[in-house]
Symmetry: C2
Subunit: 460 residues, 2 copies
């Protein structure tokens, strides 16, 4: 509750600032994983195909490259009445679902993927909520528990609690680059004894808000733990394209599970989520994601099918976006050179931002930032002076919220306080999106540095 | 449950037919309110603006009319980062919400509408589900009741039951053109005594599946009833543009309520739903709708705000579509002549279909169709021969389902059986969409007539 009130307050301050314009040209909002709002350009390939699908007259001229027009034609051919204005099957257009399953198989080194186990939805979070509805029994006593990382993406913990479930937090180890340690999973599970009945384990890889990327070894440990404790594995993998560390590599839980072989590969129940909002597409506004389900009991699949069937289909254009994301242009296609250049540009931009954020934050007294291996966020630790903590107490807000409000008011930068994600007692953090244009990130870092230096002085 | 199984069976038969191609060129699916899948062309104005928003390079040439480009520019200016790829506020882009409130005020003859009472959502049904979540207490004993029409759009009854509520059906009077009679509301409410605790009354106007349009008098009766019995009024008004009867006129519940004056206008709680999927736009695939809330308790508004805030925003392009629907081109705008011609075309098409459906169905022995005053569907009564009913019994399906399966198998026309919507014991109906191209409707009627004549012969 307090969270919403504070969020609203932040937005009021933001609006106020916007109108007064104070010393800042504008408020920079890096509080969400919303790259296009922070100056990242959409991929021309995606936008051209979608525009042609919306307004097929565009295909009559040579304005758009041939493969774009062919792609649009094919997608429209897969819609009822040849129009993006028609409903589709609830799980998504079957041809697109099929091509997504091919993408997964290829991504996962051949581990087979079945189209009938894939559901397209209006965003991955929506799919996750539906799966949680099946897992969390709102009337159970003791209540249903779900192991969740700390720090954790808060919409997931909201969903679990909203369904009458209980979150069982396991701490990621900040000092070890936010590593997920299996002993901590055991501790968390023990802590649930007598409190709730844990049925699932939620992991986010690459991380959000913390920017870790799990190794194969770490994932194998998690899978063995899930298997031993009979936990359903919920793998949030929406940042799979965002891997920055040179030694890091994204591996899907599906792949690691398949490659472990029986009995694990045949028994551990897994739901893996992906999205058109994150990664290089960054099309948050289209609202499209999907879930792939592995090793589910046929009766549970029936329940899930029913839940997805009660609502209408995902927006057709977001289904197309998922198709374009999982089947990008190939060398030789007329649109490939531009596509490839734009992807390279995003990669360069991310590499720049990752390097600069790490350098700048760690150069500031009172900040410490773990290496940013993956994902779209920085989640640096903030060492606040006792006077600042005292002041926050007087104002009845969390200390890192106090910092965020000041940062917004004085420097026009909107970030999120760590306490919204969960953090170890007595520690403080901020979260901000690093998937922004280079200019935006430089401006954020410059404003943050000046503000922070002054803040530390004011409260020293 | 049986419904889902039967629906799946119908879709299997459809797929099978599609592959075998039998005697029919193709299966015609008029089982949904999905105009574009049935040959209705989208409005150029809408598609041009949306395409320009998706791919702003289109604004650099003169391919698109000036007002289209200006409109696209303005909409993009209202998005974070100037892109449809960004998230928006959960209730929708504030400028669009504001313009929707202006549209409502104008539509309702000046009855004021407050932007803060409007929420844009991914489809109106999604908004309705959210409001139901607030109204239906899943743990209450006796259970929460909602009065629903019979016949009724089934996703709403699914939602109510899915939340642990109970539907309390009130019968629409078929013989009186599916009129909603207030005595029947009293009967229904009495029937709920000892069974559940009714808290809300759901009305669909213009009707679905039955094509009635309520008069002001009828709506006033309903409002007085709701007021007296302290029921929350849920008004599904998504077919407000679809009024065919020459003497019929769409009036919103909001307007009738406001014009009744105090005490009703200040006290009756109302939620009114509208959508970009229905009416002349027919953009089902974009997934956009909105709800306006009237006279709600501030605490209830807070709950609703929270529910809408847990999920992300509606797709940005669907928000734009709602803006375009509620603020169409005006005389003098370059895009007006084409827009106006296309709207006229849809009206002519609908008038044709309404006339022909009524004529043809009522000319067939064993069909009787009430006048089609509004909405997008025909819901004719079917008088099945005893032998057909017997045969259905043997096959363990509902008699009108049996008819629908045969119609699909033998004539390649997919319609819905009346029993899915609720109907008086011993009566049978079918529902099909009449918002199709004229050619499609003629083909449907021709296939239906031949099939029906043969069917009646076979089972005589």
């Amino acid at each position: 509750m307090e969270k919403l009130v504070l969020a609203r307050r932040a937005s009021q301050i933001k609006e106020e600032l916007r109108q007064r314009m104070r010393n800042h040209k504008q408020v920079i909002d890096v509080s969400w994983g919303d790259p296009q709002s922070a100056g990242v350009k959409p991929l021309s390939f995606v936008r051209q195909v979608l525009a042609a699908c919306l307004y097929p007259d565009l295909m009559n001229s040579n304005t758009l490259p041939l493969d774009i027009r062919q792609r649009a034609q094919r997608l429209l051919g897969e819609c009822a009445g040849g129009s993006v204005g028609s409903y589709t099957a609830t799980a998504g257009i079957s041809e697109i679902v099929y091509r997504i399953s091919e993408f997964i198989t290829k991504r996962d080194g051949g581990a087979p993927s079945q189209p009938e186990n894939i559901y397209i939805s209006p965003g991955s979070q929506w799919a996750l909520s539906n799966i949680l509805k099946v897992l969390v029994n709102s009337e159970a006593s003791p209540r249903t528990g779900v192991l969740t990382p700390e720090p954790c993406y808060p919409l997931t913990t909201f969903s679990i609690k909203g369904l009458g479930g209980v979150t069982v937090p396991y701490h990621l180890s900040e000092e070890q680059g936010w590593e997920l340690q299996v002993e901590e999973l055991h501790r968390a599970l023990d802590s649930a004894r007598g409190v709730c009945n844990p049925v699932a384990l939620y992991v986010i890889n690459p991380g959000n808000p913390a920017g870790y990327v799990q190794s194969r070894k770490s994932m194998q440990d998690v899978i063995r733990f899930a298997s031993e404790k009979r936990l359903f594995l919920l793998a949030d993998e929406v940042y799979q394209e965002c891997v920055h560390g040179e030694k890091s590599e994204f591996l899907s839980y599906k792949r690691v599970l398949a490659e472990m072989g029986p009995p694990h590969s045949d028994t551990v129940e897994l739901a893996s989520f992906h999205s058109a909002s994150k990664g290089f597409l960054g099309e948050c506004g289209l609202r499209g994601g999907y879930v792939e389900l592995v090793n589910l009991d046929p009766d549970v699949m029936k329940c899930i099918h029913k839940l997805f069937t009660i609502d209408s289909c995902a927006p057709v254009l977001s289904q197309f976006a998922l198709d374009l994301m999982t089947n990008p242009p190939q060398p030789g296609d007329p649109s490939y050179p531009l596509y490839s250049k734009e992807i390279q540009h995003i990669k360069t931009m991310m590499a720049h931002n990752v390097k600069r954020v790490f350098e700048v934050l760690n150069s500031l007294l009172g900040f410490s930032c773990q290496p940013l291996e993956g994902g779209a966020f920085a989640f640096p630790r903030l060492y606040l002076p006792p006077k600042a903590i005292q002041k926050a107490k007087e104002m009845e807000v969390e200390p890192d919220m106090f910092y965020c409000i000041r940062l917004l008011e004085e420097a026009g930068v909107l970030v999120k306080p760590g306490w919204e994600y969960g953090q170890k007692e007595g520690t403080h953090h901020i979260r901000f999106c690093i998937m922004t244009s280079e200019d935006t990130m430089e401006e954020v870092l410059s404003r943050l540095s000046s503000f922070h230096t002054q803040f530390m002085k004011d409260f020293s």
